[in-house]
Amino acid sequence: MAGSQDPNDNPMAINVVPLVDIIFCLCVFFMCSFKFRQLEGKFDSWLPKDKGSEGLPSLELISEVRVALMWDEATQVLTRKMGVRSIPQDEELQRSILEAHQAWVQKGKPDAPVTIDGDARIPWGEVITVVNIIKRCGIEKIEFAMGAPPKKPGSK
């Protein structure tokens, strides 16, 4: 790429100093604005077509594994519960979810979902952590428990 060192090869010298200046400026600009791309992934969470947040639950026995995420506003601390048991450790939660799901499988309900019932104030990162733990258990059916959508002020 580099040219010859012999000045006789190219008797007409080109002043490259402005070129170097401009390239330096461009380099500084691009280096300052450079940002590494975040490696992004996704979780599919398709909404059910045939049911929604409206309507009453059916009378049949609810077959699910429920993970409750509670938020203490005063201490800004999250509590994860299955039943009445508090489970702060990820490994223990994974084991508990797997055991609870296996119990449904043995009862002939392999499609039993894991429902995440979270307080609206908890950080989204904590919900994704639980989703990730459920995925690690090999369970694909995950449901999010939600209340009714907000009502427009003034509407009945």
């Binding site: 979780f43 800004q76 609206a120 959508p149």
Partner: protein, 176 residues
């Protein structure tokens, strides 16, 4: 003393800048290609990390929409992210393609328009008159500190506007 004066030594101090220019060009090329300068649909958020998240593999044929959930006030530090005022639901808003929607109702209005971009070919079974759900794929990209209530509202707004193909974004931890 010598009769002959020593020959004049002519020193050439010209610096050969050609390799410098070559390297600078390569550096510039790398920065231009590697830099993420495009104006994307995604706003800058700190996505929650999840190793089980699957790679984003968008089919060009499928129409899609990205709902970003980001703070109204940018955090001043990592410690600021943990404060109740930063985490309060009033500090968060929705954004689609750079346009901000402050609440559920503003988002819902926009999503109703998004849903009309493409409808499914087959109506929902058992509906009379036939009800066609939207075929638009929605990705919810929420900051890791966004309150879960905002994501719930985004999902509810999608359900209300017949959008059911939803994905939630997460960042994959760097692999060694």
């Amino acid at each position: 003393m010598s009769k002959h004066a020593p020959p004049a030594v002519e020193e050439s101090v010209a610096v050969n800048v050609v390799p410098l220019v070559d390297i600078m060009f390569l550096l510039l090329l790398f920065l231009m290609v590697g830099g993420d300068m495009s104006h994307r649909e995604s706003t800058e958020v700190q996505l929650p990390q999840a190793d089980k998240a699957v790679d984003v593999n968008k089919d060009d044929e499928t129409p899609y929409c990205v709902i970003n959930i980001h703070p109204v006030r940018d955090p001043t530090s990592d410690a600021d992210r943990l404060t109740p005022t930063f985490r309060a639901i009033t500090n968060w808003q929705f954004a689609i393609a750079g346009i901000e929607y402050p609440d559920y109702f503003a988002l819902l209005e926009q999503l109703k328009l998004v849903a009309e971009r493409k409808r499914e070919d087959v109506p929902l079974p058992g509906t009379n008159p036939p009800r066609y759900l939207s075929a638009v794929l929605v990705t919810i990209r929420a900051d890791k500190d966004a309150p879960y209530g905002m994501i719930q509202q985004a999902m509810q707004a999608c359900a209300e506007s017949t959008l059911y193909k939803i994905e939630v974004g997460a960042s994959k931890p760097p692999t060694n």
